[in-house]
Amino acid sequence: MSFSGPKHYRVESAKSLKDRPSVRASVTSATDTFNANRSDAYSQIDSDLWRDWARDVKSHALTNLDQYLEQAETQLLANGAKVHWADTAHDALRLLEEIVRDHGISTAVKAKSMLSEELGINEHLEDLGVHVRETDLGEYIIQLIGEPPSHIVGPAIHRSLEDCQRLFHEKFGTPLDDGPDALAATAREALREEFLAADLGISGGNFLVAETGTVALIENEGNIRLSTSLPRVHIALVGIEKIVPRLEDVSGFVQLTSRAATGQPIGNFFSLIQGPKRDGDIDGPEEVHVILVDNGRTRLLADDKAWEALRCVRCGACLNICPVYRQTGGHPYGWTYSGPIGAIIAPGMLGIEEAMPLPYASSLCGACVDECPVRIPIPELLLHWREKAVEKGLTSAIESAGIKAYTKAAERPAIFRAAGAMLRHIPLEAGGRALPILSDWVKERSAPKSSKKSFMQQWKEGIE
């Protein structure tokens, strides 16, 4: 299964709810845990202060992006890394292909990277005849199943323990009642061989430090450490928005991101990659390639409001708290990034036409704003994209006509009142089915019951 774009969101979300109720159950319970842990972790620090700081550093970096990217490139080169620039996914895949050919690579291990999902790295490597293996446990599971990730941090969040037990039973013949630890041990065993055999390690990058040319990576399983140090070639795919000015910024970000993502004070492993193996180093790759990827990011940066979304550190907190995301997980969103962050970057990165109806996939409850470690004003940006959608005529004609008529009436209280009186006499349960907006409403719920007398009528008659 691969993504088919956001436009099927309604159908896919409805299908998920109807046909796969276990997805909702798994996502709800996993996000409950994430939420409890994050709220604990936030409460142990002055999280407001930290989040203000993080917002300001990221905004500053984005406002001076050209300068910091150039500085990072200079430093990376000085560290002995090779630097490549990819404007599009296509460019990135072409660069990858060159490296694979130049080094005669036949097997690759991958550390978890959403950017690599965005670019379609796995499919491309397989087309080139390279055997590629995901090494993050969640990624490994969904690779075996053949699914894209459903969450930025927990890619297999939509899968239950039973799903994994069945999968491992089929693939490895393990007992059906193996617990999570036993399953992880089985995966580790299988992955060890793959690590030792791989010619190429592919990772993303959580942060790129301009001052020192350092790629910083946070993880819990140790697989990133192995993927980036065992194979003879390492490719780091880094979005251009990942830049931070100074090495000491990373120290703050790694803690805040860990707290926001999993509620840990800091991830179990934290790697700072400074370039290839040097004389005297015991291990490390012979070559390090950093591919700096745009793929729609400068387009998003050019938007006067939505550029703020580029501060995102992909912690997943907004997904975990989002009551919309929690019902279905990420797949119905139809592209790599789901939940609130997915809905606000899709219009900028893919184009608003391609991103519909994601800006509307929110009740605007505002729960995400209170959690985002870099204070992205998510509901504001959802509204911003809704406005753009209306400007471009991407919403339904019925809705448009309805709101215009409603507005006209609202400016004429007598007409508004008369229309209200009429509405009250429609039997909504039956008649509602014929009305454009209500018909969908009453599909899922009983129709609202109008009051016997409107309040304005009661007021006129006198309230005792």
Partner: protein, 237 residues
């Protein structure tokens, strides 16, 4: 003390009795209540749909209606949030007037506690087990959190703890019609976690329509009642 009641479009049609109870409650608290006749809709449906021009027109209608009121009280956190948090941005031509209106505008329980300084209304809810649903906009835009709960408790009610009490019910205005399946699943999350209570209450009619409509589909017997009516019962006259 004088205050104008803004019943809101939804309140006027679907929660008329609750609006009347809000009038009774305010009068009982010694407020001279007025209901300006030119009130219609605060503009939130258009605003949330991404239609600012229409939202601005309704905002002006509302601004003109309540220009001279000392306070504007709404039996809705959502519409009060619209006026308080978004009008100043929408009407930058009349920034001062919009800010002035925003500062005078309150959700009902917020007004009772913050402006009138009321703690105890009566003891009419003795023995009642109530679940309180936090409307997102009351909670996150207005910071209305303990106000309604403490009023309910002081009327003798037991406000039962509810794991999903701060989660969105899935109404979201047009959202509930555009994406009815996800919206209904959101309501189900609330209903599935609901403890045994006499009734559920909230500041907002929109949330109550959503929850009661879905509850009715599931043939739940629990009632969903507007906070204004519950508090009026709490007075216990």
């Amino acid at each position: 003390m004088k205050a104008a009641l803004f019943a809101t479009c939804l309140g006027d049609q679907f929660y008329a009795d609750a609006c009347a109870d809000a009038v009774r409650l305010l009068r009982y608290a010694g407020v001279d209540v007025d209901v300006p006749q030119s009130q219609t809709c605060c503009g939130q449906p258009a605003y949330n749909a991404g239609r600012k021009p229409e939202a601005i027109r309704m905002a002006y209608q509302t601004l003109d209606t309540f220009d001279s009121a000392d306070y504007v009280v709404l039996p809705s956190g959502s519409c009060a949030g619209m006026i308080r948090c978004f009008y100043p941005d929408l009407m930058n031509n009349e920034l001062e007037r919009a800010q002035d209106l925003a500062a005078r505008t309150y959700e009902l329980s917020h007004f009772l506690v913050e402006v009138l300084g009321i703690r105890d209304l009566g003891s009419g809810l003795k023995g009642k087990r109530i679940a309180y649903h936090h409307s997102c906009h009351a909670l996150r835009e207005l910071g209305v959190c303990d106000h309604p709960i403490s009023l309910l408790k002081n009327c003798g009610a037991e406000v039962v703890s509810w794991e999903a009490d701060e989660e969105c019910c899935g109404f979201g205005g047009l959202f509930s019609a555009k994406l009815p399946e996800v919206s209904a699943a959101m309501a189900d999350r609330k209903l599935d976690t609901l403890p045994g209570v006499d009734f559920v209450t909230s500041t907002d009619g929109g949330c109550l329509l959503q929850l009661s409509g879905r509850g009715d589909r599931h043939r739940l017997s629990v009632q969903f009642r507007h906070l204004a009516s519950v508090l009026w019962e709490g007075v216990g006259l």
